[in-house]
């Protein structure tokens, strides 16, 4: 399989570094909590590694039996999006339970307060 040209490597590296710094910047400004950032950082990190180490992508392509490195990238992208969507569903489920418990607690406590007042 052909190597990447310098042009391609630079472009891939710059793009993936931008992605990495974008996520880090969100965490730095506390717009993204650390606990929800790890999946994004992992992905951005992997993008950087693959940009500078094209042979790794080629090797993975052989391992999974894909025809071109592009297929491997596409597969990774789909898997990543699937993972992050499920990750969010898990978080939403947890939040739903917490909201439910808080609402129940609030309802019970305010009923108790009203009964005391009367």
């Amino acid at each position: 399989m052909p190597e990447l040209t310098l042009h391609q490597t630079v472009f891939a590296l710059v793009t993936s570094l931008l992605a990495l710094f974008f996520v880090l910047e969100l965490v730095r400004r506390r717009r993204l909590r650390e606990e929800y950032s790890w999946l994004w950082l992992l992905t951005a990190g992997a993008m950087v590694v693959l940009a500078v180490w094209y042979r790794l992508l080629v090797a993975i392509t052989h391992v999974v039996g894909a025809v071109t490195p592009l297929n491997t990238l596409l597969l990774c992208a789909v898997l990543f999006l699937f993972t992050i969507a499920v990750h969010y569903s898990v978080i939403i489920s947890r939040l739903t339970t917490q909201v439910k418990n808080l609402a129940q607690e609030l309802a019970l406590l305010s009923a108790q307060m009203e009964e005391r007042r009367d």
Binding site: T96, A103, A107, L108, S110, E115
Partner: protein, 238 residues
């Protein structure tokens, strides 16, 4: 036996008053609690005016959550028994003592009011009937118990069961066949009691629109997973 009659209600201003009056007439010396599931009408005010205790959820959370709020109150105030019935008048309050007796005499830990054992007027038809048959059959397959009515919301729980259903696994949307299966698997004794049920007198059913499809999907999933789930920490006698 310190008994709580629990009536979860969502937008039932037109019917909850009559249900409360019926419960009073049937069991005069029990505590009655209406859990208002974030209604947009006067359900809570009417219940308060009727002189029963009211807990009002800040927003609509579903019938399962409303019922569980009542269970949590029952635990905090150490009630020995909770009887639950719908606020829409489908369940006959005069039959409450039938359920209570089962718990009081220790014949079972869960008493389920069945519309099919007795002489009630309510006979659902078509798809609803088919759905009930399906879950009846699944419940029988998974527990070995032949329930006649697995979608009944008219039931009584002993104190042990209340502590059990106040935990995190209790479903927040629909809670029918899967609850029976889980309770059975946790070692509780379930007993069906013939009760009267009536068709809804107006108002909107919980099962309108596309919701029956979701109901079947949810119930199949949770019934199917019930045997695979780790049993909750609180068990019978714990």
């Amino acid at each position: 036996m310190k008994t709580l009659v629990l009536i979860p209600a969502f937008n039932e201003a037109a019917r909850v008053g009559r249900v409360v009056a019926g419960v009073r007439a049937a069991v005069p010396d029990v505590t009655i609690l209406v859990v208002d599931d974030g209604s947009s009408d006067e359900t809570a005010d009417i219940a308060r005016a009727a002189g029963v205790r009211v807990v009002r959820l800040p927003f609509n959370l579903g019938a399962g959550v409303a019922a569980q709020t009542g269970y949590k109150l029952a635990i905090r105030e150490s009630f020995d028994c909770v009887v639950q019935l719908d606020a829409d008048g489908q369940h006959e309050p005069a039959d409450i003592p039938l359920l209570l007796n089962v718990i009081a005499w220790g014949e079972a830990d869960v008493a389920i009011g069945s519309r099919f054992l007795g002489g009630g007027a309510y006979r659902p038809g078509g798809l609803r009937r088919a759905g009930m048959e399906l879950f009846r059959w699944l419940a029988w397959l998974l527990t070995g118990v032949r329930f006649s009515d697995v979608t009944s919301g008219f039931r009584a729980f002993s104190g042990d069961v209340v502590r059990f259903v106040a935990t995190e696994w209790y479903p927040t949307d629909y809670a029918d066949a899967d609850v029976l299966i889980t309770l059975r698997r946790a070692g509780f004794r379930l007993r069906e009691v013939p009760v009267r049920m009536y068709p809804r007198a107006g108002g909107r059913s919980m099962h309108g629109g596309l919701r029956p499809i979701y109901y079947v999907f949810k119930m199949l999933l949770s019934v199917g997973l019930a045997p695979l789930r780790r049993e909750p920490a609180v068990r019978k006698g714990a």
